[in-house]
Amino acid sequence: MRFCPYSHRTRLVLKAKGIRHEIVNINLRNKPEWYYTKHPLGQIPVLETSQCQLIYESVIACEYLDDAYPGRKLFPCDPYERARQKMLSELFCKVPQLTKECLVALRCRRECTDLKVALRQEFCNLEEILDYQNTTFFGGDCISMIDYLLWPWFERLDVYGIADCVSHTPALRLWIASMKQDPTVCALLTDKSIFQGYLSLYFQNNPNAFDFGLC
């Protein structure tokens, strides 16, 4: 699904590594029967290799791609640095759910102050890492896997209406700006008006929401 942040992770890695691939989007409100043969619970993303091997869970798919394909390695080679990136991924783990809850609350015109406070706290934890490391990106001075794994949710802060949650985290804002300069991130950036269009239809329960912006 074109707007799914988890799928976005996988697409970023495919692009960053220059891996030839075909994308098949599915309508999450009307999942085709065949999709359940790819994932028992019908979740996305699923990666299918040319040998028909199926891999799901976005992080597992991203790691698989980095392992299986040559060229630029997105994960560091050093075991400790790899472990650090995985620990950072754990540090981030509350963000997806919190951003989704904020989005839903705002769209349903509900109170979301507490949610935003919780989200800011999570962002402070990430800010602390960047401050301590004194690097541009989470894995060092070059962009790497961990940055791509986190990015999709930061790209969505604006359209979700929660961009103010990074107002107290300058290093994180700098990271966001640096990410937007990365060729891979740029290539996959979704136009704001298209995203807004999708969100409007989605919250009206329109089954064609996922196709918004397609000709």
Partner: protein, 213 residues
């Protein structure tokens, strides 16, 4: 902490790979100040290597050890097989919190619901073994995924949850096979000790972590 199932994962990998190490147990009911410098969240296990580098989250420590140390590789080299082990790990992911909920249940009524949920989770694992037609989760030899899952299955008897594997014969066979593994046997804590710890833990006793010493 001697009875922690998460820490047991790391111990199993250290032993399986023959990595020299020192274990420092801490009292989770009375954590020493210095421990928070090792893990700001104060959670166990934490691995500290000779360079003073700190790694936490049990699964991350296990993978780190497998990558950093030579000898027997516990994770497969093949990227797809490795991904399969991680997908099985995800499949298992609800078990630890279900077991903790069971441990902390307030009354007997919550039990049957929890037991049913556990049974459902174990059925998923049974399906994996049935589809793979192998003795272990990674194939016909024991590998990383087996060690990552084992600590919770080890504790079933002490928690009186053996019935949750009644309808999962392959899982039962797997448990028996695991007990025969030299690494698992070396790290195994007997039912009586597990029960002793659990009783004191549920009473919030600060002596719980030291049971049996």
């Amino acid at each position: 902490m001697r009875f922690c199932p998460f820490a047991e994962r790391t111990l199993l990998v250290l032993k399986a790979k023959g990595i020299r190490h020192e274990v420092i147990n801490i009292n989770l009911k009375n954590k020493p100040e210095w421990f928070f410098k090792k893990n700001p969240l104060g959670l166990v296990p934490v691995l500290e290597n000779s360079k003073g580098q700190l790694i936490y989250e049990s699964a991350i420590t296990c993978e780190y050890l497998d990558e950093a140390y030579s000898g027997k590789k516990l994770l497969p080299e093949d990227p797809y097989e490795k991904a399969c082990q991680k997908m099985i790990f995800e499949l298992f992911s609800k078990v630890p919190s279900l077991v903790t909920s069971f441990l902390r249940r307030q009354n007997k009524e919550d039990c049957s619901g929890l037991k049913e949920e556990l049974h459902r989770e174990f059925s998923k694992l049974e399906e994996v073994l049935t589809n793979k037609k192998t003795a272990f989760f990674g194939g016909n030899s024991l590998s990383m995924i087996d060690y990552l899952i084992w600590p919770w299955l080890e504790r079933l008897e002490a928690l009186e949850l053996n019935e949750c594997v009644d309808h999962t014969p392959k899982l039962k066979l797997w448990m028996a096979a695991m007990r025969k593994d030299p690494t698992v046997s070396a790290v195994l804590i007997d039912v009586k000790a597990h029960k002793g710890f659990i009783d004191l833990y549920l009473q919030n006793s600060p002596e719980a972590c030291d049971y049996g010493l």
